[in-house]
Every structure is written in structure tokens, then in C-alpha cells.
């Protein structure tokens, strides 16, 4: 038998792959395995049982949570698609004034914390909300936004870019000559759109809609703020696990496992049947902008700007409200910096924690994600496809479930991490890895592999070539990826809320607790700071960012 021999050029990818497998194995697969096994084991972990499932699923309350999560997700996928499709067409094909700014603003909801949007909705349209009270004073009744309507509304406003961005890209990739061919055969423009253009972009639209569905299923913050008595899977799992009265890890694991199964299944469908099926016609001639008659053009402009700006209204509202005076939960119409003063006096530590944890985790995610992205782009084997799947998986895992898994896995035994800062960083890193890996492998795909071969042929080892040539060539992309992971981690709530311990509260936890309690002033100030933390770096680094990258966040 030939001795085990590793080809010289395979050594670096294998080493990187080994580290990645080790990291993901220990901090993703093992915790998920813990969740799954906790769901099928007796409380003392001694025997296999389906009791947990039977007990949870026999209760209407929990069955409803599955139904509610799926219903809300399906409706939100539909509404985002309905909102985003005309908008995408307008951006891709019409001459809308200030289009570049419009695209930038349209991508913003992806980096702004969605639960802040939910909280804004609560402050404006909630039972004692600003708008509600004003309208009530005028005798105009307003429906309740608690439960499904509010949650769907927030999802629509914050998740529509997931459909918008791929659809715009898809529309731009349609070769004009295909449409011209249809028209030369006697098809009217409207029929051409329906029978040629729309089918060509359908995979992009559907893929975006499925991402929306995944996002809604795993989102914790929005339903935590707005659901009231509506049961939602991700929230119920959290409540069962953290449990104010009695914790019930077995039942939490059942809901967690169900959630994993659902989101993983949807991601699988999205990857396997939709994302790969794009009919990129490799646009050789970019379609010229369509000219509309004046009234239609005005209408289109109003629609595009209207949607994009409306989606940002909640965030403007939060920023405005943060400068008003709150006494307890009651709002007074007077300018005040009191909210910030209070936040500063009570939450300096959490602010520092947020910045430190986000920075370390963004760095770690880049440190692991960039080399892994390179390996995925440069080598092809059955192991790399496993690595590809594994590094995409966290996208489909709800933050709460991952965090529950990490707690079960590292609460005792050889490696105890609970209660510290490291476990939060690990959770953050795992959650952002899909984005870092995809973004960096997309950049590597644009770098001709013969550049690296040229360097190696000149006597530079593969590792040094990677560090001295590939990384500098990727630098713009790496920096933009770092900025995006950093800003989204700063507003991470779903895993933090499970994992934080006394000294390691973050700003999101402060805000979450203030929302739960009566500290509306602190909550609004914290929310504003979170908006600022997200916006400022992105505005500074805007030139580096590419809107398309955002849809993997």
C-alpha cells in the first residue's frame, strides 16, 4: 500500500479545512447534536424517549406556535415579494431620480436591528402609542398591531431587501436580446414581461422569498416585542429554556429541534432547487431604461421612494423619540437628553461589551471565514462540499437554538464556557460565518487563480502567497465584510439573550430588558445608539460595500 501522501499544493487547503471542521464540529454540530439528543432523552439523559415530543405536541399552545410561525413566515414572504417586485423593476428598468441613493437606502434595513423597528411600531401604534392616542383623541379607532399584523408589518419593512436585491441583480442579468426576440415575434411589451422576463427572474425572486421565510422563523426580537399572547416557536423555545418559573430543557429542545428541521429544510430547498437554477443569460447588452409617460413615471417614482422611505420611518421615529422626555413609560413632548444621560449612567458597561464582543467576533469570523472562502473557491472535492454545507448551515439556525445548544454543550464537562464572554463570541462567530465565507469566496472567484500560481512558480510558498498576494487582493472585500459583520453583531439579540451573564450584558440586552420592563426612555436611547452603531461605519465604508453582498447577512 502506498503511504499516505499529501500533495504539496493540497497541504494548505487541507490544513485550513481541518481547522474549520474542528471549529464547526465543536461549536456548531456538537451543540446542535446536544439540542437534538436533549429532545429525545429522558430528563436525566439515561434513556431514549419520545415523551418530550408527545408532551409538547399534545398541547395546543405549542402546536399553535408552529402554526403561527409558519403562517406569519408565509404571509411575510408573500408581502415582501409583492412590495419588492415592483420596486426591483423600477430600480432595474426605470429612470428613477437618485437611484444610487435609493439602492443604498433600500439595503439599510438589512443592517438595522429589526427588533428596534418592532419597538418603534409599539411606541407609535401600540396600546398607549403616540399615533394610537392621537387618533383615539380624535375619535378614530385603530386596530391592534399586536400579534400577526404587527409582526408581518415589521418583517415586510425590514426583510424586503432579501427579495429586492437578488431580483434587481436578476433583472439586470436578463439579456435584452431575449426580450427583443420576443417582441420581434409579435409579443407586446406587457406579454414579453409576463412570459419572458418574469420567468427568467423567478428563481431569484423565489430564492429571496425563501430567505425571508428562514429569517422570520429564526427571528426572536420582533415577536418578543410584538407577539403578546401569540405563541412563536423561537420565543417559546427561549421561554422554556430560560423559564421564569421552571426551566424545561427537554421541551425547549423539542421546539428547537423542530425549528432547526424547518429552517434547514427550507435552506436545503433554497440551495438545491432554487439558487442554482438561475437562468443567467449573461447580459451582453444591458436593457435600456424604459421610458414611461409622465403620470406613470411620477407614480413609479413615488412608489419606489415611498416604499424605501416608509421602511425607514420606524428608525427615524426612534431617533426622534430618543430626544423627548419620558417619565416612566409616559412620553412628554419636550426636548431632553435625559434618556441618553440615563443610558450613559446605567449602561456604559454594556455599551463597551457590545463594542468589544462585536469586534472580537467579527475578527474571528474573518480569520476563519476568509481562508475557508478561499478553500471553497479554489478546491473541489466531496470534503469541500461538506464544508460548504456546514459553513452555510448557521444561516438556518435560529440564534436562540444555537445558544441553547451551546449552553447544553458547554455547561459542564471538559470545556465549561457558560457564563463567560467567550461563549458569546463563539456564538457570534458561528452565526456570521456563512456571510464571511460566502463574501470572501465570491471575491476569490474574481481573482484569477493563475496569479497565485505565478507567485508559487516564482518561489513563494502557498501559505506566503495567500498572505502576501491573495489577502491584499481581497482586502477591499475583507474590510467591507468586517464592517458588515461588525454592525450586525452589535445588534445581535437572539443568541445574546440566552448566553449573557451579569457582567457581559450587551446594549441589545439592556434594550430588551427595558422594553420588557418600564424603561421606555432607556430603551429608546439604547435603540438609537444601536442605529448609530450600525449606520456610522456603513456610511463611512459605503464605497467599499456592495449591496448584493448584503443578502447573506
Amino acid at each position: 500500500m502506498r503511504p499516505l501522501y499529501l500533495a504539496p499544493l493540497a497541504r494548505l487547503p487541507v490544513a485550513i479545512g481541518a481547522i474549520a471542521f474542528l471549529f464547526l464540529g465543536v461549536f456548531l454540530v456538537y451543540p446542535l447534536w446536544c439540542v437534538l439528543s436533549a429532545s429525545v432523552l429522558t430528563a436525566d439523559g439515561s434513556a431514549f424517549t419520545l415523551q418530550n415530543y408527545a408532551r409538547v405536541l399534545s398541547r395546543t399552545y405549542y402546536r399553535a406556535s408552529i402554526f403561527n410561525s409558519l403562517t406569519i413566515g408565509a404571509v411575510a414572504s408573500l408581502t415582501t415579494t409583492l412590495i419588492a417586485l415592483p420596486l426591483a423593476f423600477g430600480i432595474a428598468r426605470l429612470e428613477i431620480r437618485g437611484k444610487l441613493v435609493l439602492i443604498g437606502l433600500a439595503a439599510l434595513p438589512l443592517i438595522l436591528p429589526s427588533f428596534v423597528g418592532a419597538y418603534a411600531l409599539l411606541l407609535l401604534f401600540g396600546r398607549s402609542g403616540l399615533v394610537t392616542q392621537t387618533l383615539n383623541a380624535w375619535g378614530i379607532p385603530i386596530g391592534s398591531i399586536y400579534g400577526t399584523p404587527g409582526i408581518v408589518l415589521v418583517y415586510t419593512m425590514t426583510l424586503y431587501p432579501y427579495v429586492l436585491l437578488p431580483t434587481v441583480a436578476g433583472l439586470k442579468a436578463v439579456d435584452r436580446s431575449v426580450e427583443e426576440a420576443a417582441e420581434s415575434l409579435g409579443s407586446t411589451p406587457a406579454r414579453t414581461f409576463r412570459t419572458v422576463t418574469l420567468p427568467l427572474v423567478a428563481p431569484s425572486v423565489l430564492s429571496g422569498a425563501l430567505l425571508v421565510l428562514i429569517e422570520t422563523l429564526e427571528n426572536f426580537g420582533v415577536p418578543a416585542v410584538l407577539a403578546e399572547d401569540k405563541t412563536i416557536l423561537a420565543v417559546e423555545a427561549y421561554k422554556l429554556f430560560i423559564g421564569e418559573t421552571a426551566t424545561n430543557p427537554g421541551a425547549a429542545a423539542v421546539l428547537g429541534s423542530l425549528l432547526i428541521a424547518l429552517t434547514a429544510l427550507i435552506l436545503l430547498i433554497q440551495r438545491r432547487y432554487v439558487a442554482g437554477r438561475s437562468f443567467a443569460t449573461g447580459a451582453r447588452s444591458i436593457p435600456p431604461p424604459i421610458r414611461l409617460t409622465a403620470p406613470w413615471h411620477t407614480l413609479a417614482t413615488l412608489y419606489c421612494w415611498g416604499v424605501v422611505l416608509l421602511a425607514l420611518v420606524p428608525f427615524f421615529a426612534i431617533l426622534t423619540l430618543s430626544f423627548l422626555e419620558f417619565r416612566g413609560p409616559v412620553l412628554h413632548r419636550a426636548f431632553s437628553l435625559g434618556n441618553y444621560a440615563e443610558l450613559w449612567s446605567t449602561a456604559r458597561g454594556p455599551l463597551a461589551n457590545t463594542l468589544i464582543l462585536a469586534s472580537l467576533a467579527a475578527g474571528l469570523a474573518a480569520l476563519i471565514g476568509v481562508p475557508v472562502g478561499w478553500v471553497l473557491a479554489r478546491t473541489r472535492s466531496s470534503l469541500t462540499s461538506v464544508l460548504d454545507v456546514l459553513s452555510t448551515l448557521p444561516f438556518a439556525i435560529a440564534g436562540t437554538v444555537l445558544a441553547i445548544g451551546l449552553v447544553i454543550a458547554f455547561n459542564s464537562g471538559g470545556l465549561v464556557l457558560t457564563g463567560g464572554w467567550l461563549i458569546i463570541i463563539i456564538a457570534y462567530t458561528v452565526r456570521k460565518l456563512p456571510f464571511t465565507v460566502r463574501a470572501s469566496s465570491a471575491i476569490v472567484h474574481q481573482i484569477d487563480p493563475s496569479l497565485e500560481e505565478a507567485s508559487v512558480s516564482l518561489g513563494v510558498s502557498p501559505l506566503v502567497t495567500f498572505l502576501r498576494l491573495t489577502v491584499p487582493l481581497m482586502l477591499g472585500g475583507i474590510v467591507s465584510g468586517l464592517v458588515l459583520t461588525w454592525v450586525t453583531l452589535a445588534s445581535e439579540l437572539s443568541s445574546t439573550v440566552v448566553l449573557y451573564s451579569g457582567p457581559w450584558r450587551t446594549l441589545t440586552v439592556v434594550m430588551f430588558q427595558a422594553v420588557e420592563g418600564t424603561g421606555a426612555g432607556v430603551a429608546v436611547a439604547a435603540a438609537s445608539v444601536l442605529i448609530g452603531i450600525a449606520l456610522i461605519p456603513v456610511v463611512i465604508a459605503y464605497r467599499l460595500l456592495r449591496a448584493n453582498e448584503l443578502s447573506m447577512l
Partner: protein, 361 residues
């Protein structure tokens, strides 16, 4: 500088054997070309020498040193890539200095050797330019300078001219050949362009399906193709179908269309065997009225179908009596006085005829 010895090199991708047990010796200082259609394995063989692909079996040595287990960055090769692979983040001088710095050459020597290398490829004074400011031809010169400046043992060129326009391609190939002769560096050149291969090489290996079909000087592979594939691949050729009508000791009578000609026998030829007979269009000449055939010439009668005048060349499309096509090319001759449909006689020297048994399919 050193010779390259390849012994039993084998490499497959998935289930396709890209290089099938090739054994080959490239002499010290030789300009050697791997020629073949795309997918024939020529680039794979070059990448095996460079180390970018791994041998499955066999060995490769530079001189007496076996190198196939060395990683590519320790093989001391100079490689020029099809798309130049110029580092966009470095200046021209930075690109050329890249390999010197990897070898820890002293700083003063680096700038001197970079200058020399740029002078060698006639790019004096362009060291501070950025790659995006250069033309394709200039980029290719930078790539060559970058490969040569490290004084590699062997120079490997992977279709270096295929991204240049036609005229520049002709100039550059002359320059590469000239440079190689001056430096005497062992060079392996990969191309799919037979004219380019003929123009620059000392020896050519014509490859097909992972094997070397023929190895020889440019004149050999063009004039004495070893197989029907080589005959067809090396430029235009007429492939005539013939049948052995009668074997007669050292001679055989072969029927082409309705003419029977006498040829030296293939050693295993038997009556009724089918043959491919290849003759280049430019080997044919028109036998004018009253002219006879010379000694050792074979004459065929054919019908004019079409006459194409393309400047230096005149191309005739003819048809034999059974309708099979025959091409004829003449350099700098007056147009033939024949019109379409006229019968003419053509002749060619026997030694320009290549005969291959038709594979029993």
C-alpha cells in the same frame, strides 16, 4: 539550465486519463513544444512539470534531480501564463522583483537585475508603470521578464500568445524564440496553434488524448506525419481513400477513385485493404497541356470546382472522378486557364504522400 526527463508520467481527472504514461526527454537548452487540440493533455503535462498538478505515476527530473515530489515553489521554474497573471497590485518593477525577493536577493542586486530583465524584453523605463497602464503585448513581456529574472532551470510557457492579436502574435513568437536562443534556456512551450509551433520549436510533440502521437522536428511532423491525426492537425491536407488492388512483393497497386497507382507496399498490406492517402495541397501542381509528369511523380485527373484567389496564394477546389474533393494550393503563380467543370491533370512527388491503413472500424 538542465534537461527534463519525464518517465511514465500519468495523470487523470475524474475518470479521464489526461496524460497517459508519457516518457520524454527534453534536452538541455532545447526549445520544445507540446502541440495539440484542446483537451489533449498538453497543458496538464506542462502543469505536471511545473508542479501545479500531481503525478499519479512516473517521475520527472531536471538534470539528475528528481523534482516531482517537490512543491512548485521549490522547483526553480519560470512560468508564463496564458493570461499573463501579472499581479495587479504591484508595479511592473514590483512584478519582476517578486521572485527575486522570495529568494532574498540583496536589494541592490534586485534593482539591477530587474533593470536587466526589463531591458531584455525591451521595456526599459517602464518599471514604475502599473499593469493597467500597459498593453497586452507589454504585459506579456513583463510576464516573460518576471519568469526569466529568477534564472530558472526551465522556462514553461502555457499558450503565451493566445490572448494577443494576430500580427502581435507573429512578432512576439519571433522575439520569444530569439530570447530563448540567446539565453540557451530549456524551454517547454504549449500551444494549439500548429503554425506557431512550427515557427519556434526545435522539436514538437504532437499530442492527442493524453498520448504523444508524434515527436520530431517541425519539418518531420509536417512532412512525415506519423498518423492520420497528425497529418490532419498539422495544417490542411487532402485525405484520399484508396484500396489495395493488388500486392506485388515490395509494391502495391492502389486504386484512388478510378485511377490506379503503384506505391511501395506497407509491410502488412493485403489485397482489399483500405488506405488513407494524405498529400498536402501545396505538394500538388497542375500539369499543363503538353507537359509530362516527372520521375517519381504521381498524376491524377480531376475536375475544377472552384478557384479562390487570396493574394499570395491561389487555392483550387477539385473533384476526383468519384466526386471526392481534392485541394491544391499555389504560391505566386498565374491563375490557371481552366474554368469550373474543366478537366485537369495534377501531379505530386511520391515522397510527399503519407499512407495510413484505414482503421478497421
Amino acid at each position: 539550465m538542465s534537461s527534463i526527463a519525464i518517465e511514465g508520467a500519468r495523470r487523470s481527472f475524474a475518470s479521464v486519463l489526461a496524460v497517459r504514461d508519457i516518457t520524454l526527454k527534453i534536452e538541455d537548452g532545447e526549445f520544445f513544444t507540446l502541440l495539440g487540440p484542446s483537451g489533449c493533455g498538453k497543458t496538464t503535462l506542462l502543469r505536471l512539470i511545473a508542479g501545479f498538478a500531481e503525478l499519479e505515476a512516473g517521475r520527472i527530473s531536471f538534470g539528475d534531480t528528481r523534482i516531482d515530489r517537490l512543491p512548485p515553489h521549490r522547483r526553480n521554474i519560470g512560468m508564463v501564463f496564458q493570461n499573463y497573471a501579472i499581479f495587479p497590485n504591484l508595479t511592473v518593477a514590483g512584478n519582476v522583483a517578486y521572485g527575486l525577493k522570495a529568494r532574498h536577493v540583496a536589494r541592490a542586486d534586485v534593482s539591477r537585475r530587474v533593470e536587466e530583465a526589463l531591458a531584455l524584453v525591451r521595456l526599459i523605463g517602464l518599471g514604475e508603470r502599473w499593469p493597467h497602464q500597459l498593453s497586452g503585448g507589454q504585459l506579456q513581456r513583463v510576464a516573460i521578464a518576471r519568469a526569466l529574472v529568477i534564472r530558472p532551470e526551465v522556462l514553461l510557457l502555457d499558450e503565451p500568445l493566445s490572448n494577443l492579436d494576430a500580427r502581435l502574435r507573429v512578432d512576439m513568437r519571433g522575439e520569444i524564440r530569439h530570447l530563448q536562443q540567446r539565453l540557451g534556456i530549456t524551454t517547454v512551450y504549449v500551444t494549439h496553434d500548429q503554425e506557431e509551433a512550427l515557427a519556434v520549436s526545435q522539436r514538437i510533440a504532437v499530442m492527442e488524448a493524453g498520448r504523444i502521437e508524434q515527436l520530431g522536428s517541425p519539418e518531420d511532423v509536417y512532412r512525415q506525419p506519423a498518423s492520420l491525426f497528425v497529418a490532419r492537425f498539422m495544417g490542411t491536407t487532402n485525405v484520399l481513400a484508396g484500396i489495395v488492388a493488388a500486392r506485388d512483393g515490395e509494391r502495391m497497386h492502389v486504386r484512388i477513385a478510378t485511377t490506379t497507382i503503384s506505391l511501395p507496399a506497407l509491410h502488412d498490406a493485403r489485397d482489399g485493404d483500405r488506405l488513407h492517402l494524405c498529400v498536402r495541397p501545396e505538394a500538388l501542381r497542375i500539369v499543363r497541356n503538353g507537359e509530362g509528369t516527372k520521375d517519381g511523380e504521381i498524376a491524377l485527373t480531376a475536375t475544377m470546382a472552384n478557384c479562390e484567389f487570396i493574394g499570395p496564394l491561389i487555392r483550387l477546389d477539385l473533384a476526383l472522378s468519384d466526386g471526392s474533393p481534392l485541394k491544391l494550393a499555389m504560391l505566386d503563380r498565374p491563375l490557371p486557364p481552366a474554368a469550373a467543370g474543366d478537366r485537369i491533370t495534377v501531379a505530386f512527388p511520391l515522397d510527399r504522400l503519407s499512407i495510413f491503413p484505414q482503421a478497421a472500424t
